[in-house]
């Protein structure tokens, strides 16, 4: 009897009606993660650069940016999502849910990733910065030649780990109606499929997305731990 039921559910789940939609929802989950976190990383980078600015204007910029980061790291992602939803809906008619989700993910990712990037920049020993300064490096030159190459191996592992973990957080945007994996699962259950089966399968799909990437992330971390972000004498070396 149970076997019969399981087979029936399997057929429905992997049947032509569902399979296409399932793929779409998985694609959406992946797209949200990559686009949202990718944009978040770019903005986080700009933010960290902004935090280095000097002078009065720089001080104002620094305060705004610091405020942004500290605020959005202390609000649950679900609440950020709703804030973006209601915020955008108040001023823009007919904004797509996808856009709203991306904005929410972007804001959240920017706040978290900027801390990671900032820590990376600060991990470069201060003495090297002083040596650069004493040799008349401008702050941007120091950033480009000394800080960036050495901070990238420190930044990438946690940044990638964040993105991989975020795949799970995307499940929350299902609440505003975005057609990703969790949303599809809820739909199927609403249509009468077994909750046990559906959410079990959905869990397995998330697992299949998350676990290999997590392993990959750890491997990458090991690789980067041995490299040093090096700048060899490429141009001047005699061919």
């Amino acid at each position: 009897m149970i076997v019969h039921k399981v087979v029936d559910q399997l057929a429905r789940f992997f049947g032509p009606d569902n399979l296409g939609l399932l793929w779409q929802s998985v694609g959406m989950t992946i797209a949200l993660t990559i686009i949202g976190c990718g944009l978040g990383f770019a903005f986080a980078f700009l933010i960290t650069l902004a935090r280095q600015s000097r002078g009065l204007l720089g001080a104002v910029l620094r305060i705004i940016v610091t405020l942004f980061v500290e605020v959005f790291r202390r609000i649950p992602f679900l609440v950020v999502t709703y804030l973006v939803l209601f915020g955008i809906a108040a001023f823009v008619k007919g904004a797509s849910l996808f856009l709203i989700a991306i904005v929410a993910i972007c804001i959240y990712a920017t706040a978290y990733l900027s801390e990671i990037i900032r820590t990376g920049f600060e991990s470069v020993p201060h003495q090297q910065i002083e040596a650069a300064s004493a040799m008349n490096f401008s702050r941007w030159q120091t950033l480009l030649h000394v800080i960036l190459p050495q901070s990238i191996p420190v930044i990438l592992p946690p940044a990638i780990a964040f993105m991989i973990a975020f795949i799970k957080d995307t499940s929350l945007v299902s609440q505003i109606g975005v057609f990703e994996l969790s949303f599809r699962g809820k739909e199927l259950v609403n249509q009468g499929m077994s909750g046990l089966f559906v959410f079990g399968m959905i869990a397995l799909i998330y697992f299949a997305l998350s676990y290999p990437l997590t392993r990959l992330g750890r491997w990458l971390e090991k690789r980067l731990a041995s490299s040093r972000g090096q700048e060899p004498e490429r141009q001047l070396r005699q061919a």
């Binding site: 003495q127 650069a132 008349n136 000394v146 090096q230 060899p232």
Partner: protein, 245 residues
């Protein structure tokens, strides 16, 4: 006219007065050594000269013309004439030896590639590291790293070289190679201000020793005179303690 003249220099770290009324002169090709207990302000003198710490008062002159540390442009022009080598070598870990030496002349001074490279190779050969051009700092010993740091400072063709306790962080066996490098530079007539505790070396190489304590000059003169037969009480106390071991 002195190559470097410092008059009444003062500097503070926050509320702490580190230097006050500090005076110093250096003639061209002269080697002066600055010695003193820790916290005396000797490293601060070098840091102020190279623009890493702002002075709170006093004047500095190079070749008779006054030098200012107020604007970025002012500091930049000072750094064009004075180079510093740090106790912790402070090499760029993400660049190999050759790149460490060539990067500033190339990217800051925009000197022509060919000349910069040839110059770097020559300098590295002079400090005895000709075979280590493409090695990274973390694969070098402390003494080797320090010699790269010296070559790096020289690559900018400074008029005056400032050496801040460059052997203090090294294991004893590695100290000689660095001292040899400095001796070679002395022979070539480089004007140098050396902060050090290596009293034997100071006696050998410096034409004058300046003892600094609590931010001011306590005693100065030829090394044998100041170190072996100090006249002030403080100097007697300091050198007595040092030379006892």
């Amino acid at each position: 006219m002195h190559h470097l003249e410092v008059k009444n220099l003062s500097a503070s770290y926050g509320k702490l007065r580190v230097l006050s009324g500090f005076n110093l002169t250096l003639s061209k090709g002269e080697i002066v050594s600055l010695v003193g207990p820790s916290g005396s302000g000797k490293s601060t003198v070098l840091r102020v000269l190279v623009g890493l710490t702002p002075p709170t008062g006093g004047e500095v002159f190079i070749d008779g013309s006054p030098v200012s540390y107020r604007s970025k442009a002012d500091i930049k022009s000072v750094r064009d004439r004075m180079a510093i080598v740090f106790q912790q070598y402070n090499l760029f870990q993400n660049m190999d030896v050759l790149r460490n030496v060539t990067i500033a002349p190339l990217k800051i001074k925009h000197w022509p590639k060919q000349e910069v490279e040839e110059d770097a190779r020559r300098l590295l050969a002079k400090v005895g590291l000709a075979e280590k051009l493409h090695v990274y700092p973390d694969q070098l010993s402390g003494g080797q790293q320090q010699r790269v740091a010296i070559a790096r400072a020289l690559a900018l063709q400074p008029e005056i070289l400032l050496l801040d306790e460059v052997t203090s962080a090294l294991d004893p066996e590695l100290v000689t190679e660095v001292l040899d490098t400095i001796r070679a530079l002395a022979k070539e007539g480089m004007t140098m201000l050396i902060v050090s505790h290596e009293m034997a070396f100071v006696k050998e190489i410096a034409s004058r020793v300046v003892l600094i304590d609590k931010g001011t000059v306590v005693e100065e003169g030829p090394p044998r005179q100041v170190i072996d037969t100090p006249s002030t009480e403080r100097a007697k106390e300091f050198f007595g303690k040092i030379l006892r071991h």
